[in-house]
């Protein structure tokens, strides 16, 4: 299995580039005020939030323990409603299945609701290479598609762009429409609505993702604010749902519990504008809806995680909340991670699905501050899994000699308390002496990556341990 356009090996260079990109830094600065403050409000208005998290975790753990049974139940319920379930072992098989459905439908244009799995398997490029035009319809996805880029946030794909960049894209691509000023936000929205409405009406196949699959009823569920996922599935002749196998939940009751967490964690809404349950093709007498309904269940490495140390990552409901909370994501943005899944969840999921060989930087792209786990509605122990992946990488022997030797030296010192105390006291004393005059260092040998962007405060003369032993307490 592979992840499409995986460029995680370039993380250090991409991160440095992102940090120096002033436009990106200013665009990313909007994250916190918006998502996190609204989330805090939404949590405060539901006293049961934490209890619901516990229940949701239990539901998902139960599902993962019986994943085979629930997938089979889902499959037969879909069939009972007149739909068809397809199974894809990996990305290539998923692409072949979707292309086959499109060809059978004689499709020349496909509209798409937002789907992360589509990014994971590289569906758009594949369809385009087969002569089928794929049009993203979520506004953020549409913007990044026009720019020839990948989404940089799970729920806000174009967070890295500002209004000026959007208006430039629209003016270039909307040849039939008049140019818009960057500050004419209503006009930009109206243009996207007009252009994409035409696309919806002309499309032969509509492809959406799924936030949940319900085993009891065979329904697939999407959650959107724009309504694009609905026009994508209601207007074309064929509706294809792409979903990871971990998306299944037992019942409508269980999905209702998850829904109380999803929008609150994602955007701080109590419910997103549209939550849509789809159970098959058009029925007798129906005036609208697709004539055919396909669900493609994608494994692509997920089943292998079930018995492993990163199993809990399969609980993820893709709310994007850990990205908003992460100090690293907030500075480097989504593209630096080089994967369809950025941020803390991506730093676990990407190596888990694709292996560590090309992705070993990602588990290190974290200060292990723990905010991701704190905000995660599914209580996924992301820091623990990042540590596990670091350990695995260290044991693989792939790390450069300098890193291995450095860590070896460190562990030799750290495992000998008396030596450690003596060396740290010595270092603290010497640095205190040297930095006495200014109280800080703006450059230090061996610490350039620290002092290159900020000063190092000089120690006050005694180490923490010696002060502790002398009876000082904070």
């Amino acid at each position: 299995m592979t992840l499409h356009r995986l460029r995680s090996a370039a993380f250090p260079a991409s991160a440095i580039r992102a940090l120096g990109d002033r436009q990106l830094q200013s665009n990313l600065s909007r994250l916190k005020g918006n998502f996190l403050e609204r989330r805090a409000w939404a949590m405060a208005s539901l006293p049961e939030f934490d209890a619901l998290r516990d229940e949701a975790v239990a539901i998902k753990d139960h599902v993962l323990e019986h994943l085979d049974t629930y997938l089979e139940a889902f499959e037969s319920a879909v069939a009972a409603g007149g739909g068809e379930v397809h199974w894809a072992r990996d990305d290539a098989e998923a692409r072949r299945i979707v292309l086959g459905i499109c060809r059978d439908a004689g499709a020349s244009t496909v509209t798409k609701g937002k789907t992360m799995v589509s990014e994971e398997i590289g569906l758009n490029e594949w369809l385009e290479s087969a002569g089928i035009e794929a049009v993203e319809t979520d506004l953020g996805e549409y913007i990044v598609q026009l720019a020839g880029e990948a989404p940089s946030h799970i729920i806000a794909p174009a967070i890295h762009k500002n209004r000026r960049q959007v208006s430039e894209l629209f003016n270039r691509h909307h040849a039939d429409l008049e140019d818009r000023d960057a500050d004419d936000l209503d006009g930009l929205l109206a243009d996207a609505r007009t252009v994409l409405r035409g696309r919806f009406l002309a499309a032969d196949v509509g492809i959406t993702g799924a936030n949940f699959l319900i085993a009891e009823t065979g329904q697939t569920v999407i959650v959107t604010n724009e309504g694009n996922g609905d026009l994508t599935q209601l207007l074309p002749r064929v509706h294809v749902v792409l979903a990871g196998i971990e998306k299944v939940v037992p019942t409508l009751e269980d999905v209702s519990t998850m829904l109380r967490l999803l929008a609150r964690s994602a955007t701080g809404q109590e419910m997103s504008s549209y939550t849509t349950f789809s159970a098959g093709p058009r029925r007798d007498g129906d005036a609208d809806g697709p004539e055919a309904f396909h669900v493609v269940l994608v494994d692509n490495g997920r089943s292998a995680l079930l018995g492993g140390a990163t199993r809990e990552i399969l609980r993820c409901i893709r709310c994007g909340c850990c990205l908003n909370a992460c100090p690293v994501y907030g500075k480097v943005g989504g593209h630096a991670y080089g994967s369809a899944y950025p941020g803390p969840v991506g730093a676990v999921l990407t190596p888990s699905l694709a292996g560590l060989a090309e992705t070993a930087h990602l588990p290190n792209a974290s200060s292990l501050c723990g905010r991701c786990e704190e905000v995660c509605p599914m209580r996924i122990p992301i820091p623990r899994m990042l540590r596990h992946l670091r350990e695995q990488e260290a044991q693989s022997g792939r790390a450069p000699a300098a890193v291995r030797n450095g860590l070896g030296l460190w562990s030799a010192v750290a495992a000998r308390p008396r030596l450690y105390r003596r060396l740290t006291s010595l270092a603290a004393g010497v640095l205190a002496l040297l930095g006495r005059r200014r109280g800080r260092f703006s450059s230090l040998p061996l610490a350039r990556s620290w002092t290159g962007t900020r000063d190092l405060a000089s120690p006050q003369g005694r180490s923490f341990q010696s002060r502790w032993h002398a009876g000082e307490r904070p």
Binding site: H86, L231, I245, S273
Partner: protein, 218 residues
């Protein structure tokens, strides 16, 4: 692709422990409720008030009428107030058919909405007080596109159809049919996006305006 099916299920089974907990069959055949938020522990009137408050909080407008006969008049009033053409597409539902659309000032076309329709009217199958959510079920009498194509969506809701939570709506739908409707749309407010600079804008792909006509029943 039965090879893929067996391969995936086989991989799952090999990854899972031999001894597993609680039985999925029972959970599927007897769905049980999880925690219900305390905010819905209210009287009938309390639930209606909560619904009204919640819909307004998500940008919908709401008008209350005394009976079904008053619905066409309210729709005409709303369109006039908003300075919109007095033309609507109406879902071909018997309860909407039973209303007198001819005597008013609105010209009504029965059937699924077309791309040019400015305003669509349909009937909710239920509503959730907890979050101010409308529940629409697709069918011959209720095209799902009515919820999304017109720029203005007028949804008729009977007071008696306002239930506390989504779980109450599922119970009601289960009691009516063994299988779920083809499409169930839960609608909470209007179409919106924050994809340009995280600034919330309304009317992205679906309706820019949502007007709820709440019908008191005898």
């Amino acid at each position: 692709m039965s090879g893929a099916r067996e391969a995936i299920l086989g991989r799952i089974r090999r990854s899972l422990p031999a001894h597993r907990g609680a039985d999925p069959a029972a959970r599927l055949s007897h769905p049980r409720r999880n925690l219900q938020p305390a905010r819905v522990a209210l009287s009938r009137e309390g639930l209606v008030d909560l619904f009204v408050r919640k819909t307004r909080a998500v940008g919908a407008t709401l008008a209350r009428v005394d009976g079904a006969a008053d619905v066409p008049g309210e729709v005409a009033r709303y369109l006039r107030e908003r300075n919109l053409p007095a033309e609507v597409a109406i879902a071909p539902h018997p309860d909407l058919d039973a209303m007198d659309w001819s005597s008013g000032t609105v010209s009504a076309r029965r059937g699924r909405p077309l791309d040019g329709d400015r305003c669509g009217v349909n009937l909710a199958v239920g509503a959730v007080a907890e979050t101010g959510t409308l529940v629409m079920a697709s069918g011959a009498d209720s095209p799902a596109t009515m919820n999304f194509l017109p720029e203005t969506h007028v949804a008729v809701v009977r007071e008696g159809d306002i239930l506390a939570t989504a779980e109450d709506v599922w119970d009601r739908l289960r009691s009516r049919a063994r299988t779920p409707p083809r499409t169930v749309n839960m609608i909470t407010g209007v179409s919106r996006t924050g994809d340009i600079e995280q600034i919330i804008q309304t009317g992205m792909h679906g309706p820019r305006y949502l007007h709820i006509v709440l019908v008191k029943e005898a």
